[in-house]
Chain length 333, copies 2
């Protein structure tokens, strides 16, 4: 049986493995620094579909295909999946022909981390042999749902992040692989009263602090014990805030931190303001770049913490602040 | 370690317990046959809030309060929660002050069953001592999001179901309680090509068949082995279809079947066409009526199977059919 600690961390008695991942993206993603860690990209973002929403579904199918191929297996026992579209339709439509048990999630941009944590628990408890976590976002489907019609060309404030067009799938299993998940932490919802939907990094940073600090406390570790802390996706501003909160509250520096929202695009060459966001951001960055760097021996002990802003356009219109969440895990080679 | 069977059923080695539930509803729900199994109802459906969406959040808070009270505990380790609103905001806003690890789900009207299955796995694996599964829907917030503005008074076809205004919370634990969850089955997505968003019972019945039949096969049982099969929420038409599919495909009669969508309202006295629906329907019916009837000794061995239609207004507008899912479990006293 697992152990459940005071601040919510679960220690997994049979730590499962990351086996392999797949990632696909759009044109802007293919022009960024992670170009080599995309299996495929679509020049027009359509993946040969007639709507942006269908293109997003198609991306998830492709990412799952590449991930399964790289893992050398035909099928998984469970798919954990979610996205940002209303009623999470990108995911449901992507996997409706998979003939595989399906667990639908909503955690906004934390969905991918949430799926990896649940996958870990299923594998750890003997309930599955292989799982896939499949998550996506699409700039065009998100933009018209959350903000303005694309054709309107709405101006973006400097604090805004750019929704990634991308899908990432990571395959996990019981027996062997790149690295193991030893601890998981499903975060608590944190709402510090931020109301600016164009500054989600600021809303999410306190949730990231809460979960990462819970892992430190429950496992009696501190930032120096990790080769890497990777958040996804706070962006430039949110990551800076997270570092400031840790300094102020705990006296910790975070020397080894990177954020998926910073890695995806080039700050100097690509005009994305505060970095990347979207449920597909951490899914894409983690499924290939992070996993393959771990495989290459770059990092041995890692915290991966995915953040999400649990707002909707309607909640913002009704004057509400932005509840945020962060799901985290400890990964060891 | 658990056992994972061919058709997806997981046998839980340490079957967790249902402890107690809480349920609240609106005026129409309080006028129906389950009136005595509501802890509270709001005459105007507003629960003293200024929007329908905030009222829906408030319902979840109240249902959790009554459930914790009845269970005699102050706090759970995890909340599994979801609803039908875009970005599942009813749930996130309900639990943002709970200071409790939060797992956000989207399974449309199957969300409650999905949450109970996940709760069971967390408890079974020693990852939690107590969990809450909290799910809601609200006729007014759903109607204006999915269909028409309320004031428009759109006409409903006879196959349509009526979205329940209600929230239900069920508390589960490791040590003792009303009954135990011995098997869980996360369903596969089934899409038979039904495109009529006003006939979701027809879209969901094949998913219910798929999951319930998977449980029969994996556990080597048949309908005669159960005192009750309870689906939620196929409605009158969907339940009839499910019985027909079982007769045709397996030669089984389903003599002990009830559907949460049939139980909530009076067919003769309340004008709800094909019955009740909405994520809050099975959550409300199960959390008190079903649980307390089990406690009273009415049923000993039960399958509870929650169905969901994974469509969105946009997917319907884009000409898509309705992918459906059903998550099921075996409950034994």
């Amino acid at each position: 049986l697992n152990t459940h600690y005071e601040n919510g961390t679960i220690k997994l008695e049979n730590p499962p493995y990351f086996i392999a991942g797949g990632a696909v993206g759009g044109k802007k993603e293919s022009e960024g620094p992670l170009c080599d860690w995309l299996d495929e990209f679509s020049e027009d973002g359509r993946f040969e579909q007639d709507t942006w929403e269908k293109a997003e579904s198609e991306m998830q199918k492709h990412a799952l295909y590449y991930a399964l191929n790289r893992a050398g297996i035909d099928k998984v026992d469970f798919i954990f999946s979610g996205d940002l579209l209303n009623q999470c339709t990108a995911s449901a439509f992507a996997h409706r022909e998979s003939n595989t048990s399906y667990v639908g999630l909503y955690g906004a941009c934390s969905t991918f981390a949430e799926g990896l944590c649940l996958s870990s628990l299923f594998l750890n408890s003997g309930s599955a042999e292989y799982t896939a976590t499949s998550v996506s976002s699409h700039f065009c489907s998100a933009e018209r749902q959350y903000r303005y019609p694309l054709n309107y060309g709405g101006q973006r404030p400097p604090t805004a992040q750019w929704t990634v067009t991308g899908a990432g799938t990571t395959i996990m299993g019981c027996n062997s692989g790149i690295a193991r998940v030893t601890h998981i932490n499903f975060g608590k919802i944190v709402d510090m009263g931020i109301k600016d939907a164009n500054n989600m990094g600021a809303a999410m940073a306190p949730a990231a602090f809460d979960t990462i600090n819970a892992i430190f406390k429950d496992t009696d570790t501190n930032p120096a014990d990790y080769d890497l802390i990777v958040t996804g996706d706070l962006g430039f501003l949110g990551k800076k805030l997270l570092c400031e909160i840790f300094k102020k509250e705990e006296g910790f520096e975070l020397p080894n931190i990177i954020d998926c929202g910073e890695e995806m695009f080039s700050k100097s060459a690509q005009d994305v303001h505060s970095g990347a966001s979207g449920a597909g951001c951490s899914a894409t960055v983690f499924s290939r770049f992070i996993l393959e760097q771990i495989k290459a021996g770059r990092w041995k002990k890692i915290i991966f913490a995915g953040t999400g802003a649990l707002l909707s356009p309607l909640s913002t219109q009704q004057g509400e602040s932005i509840p945020s969440i962060c799901h985290g895990m400890v990964i060891e080679v």
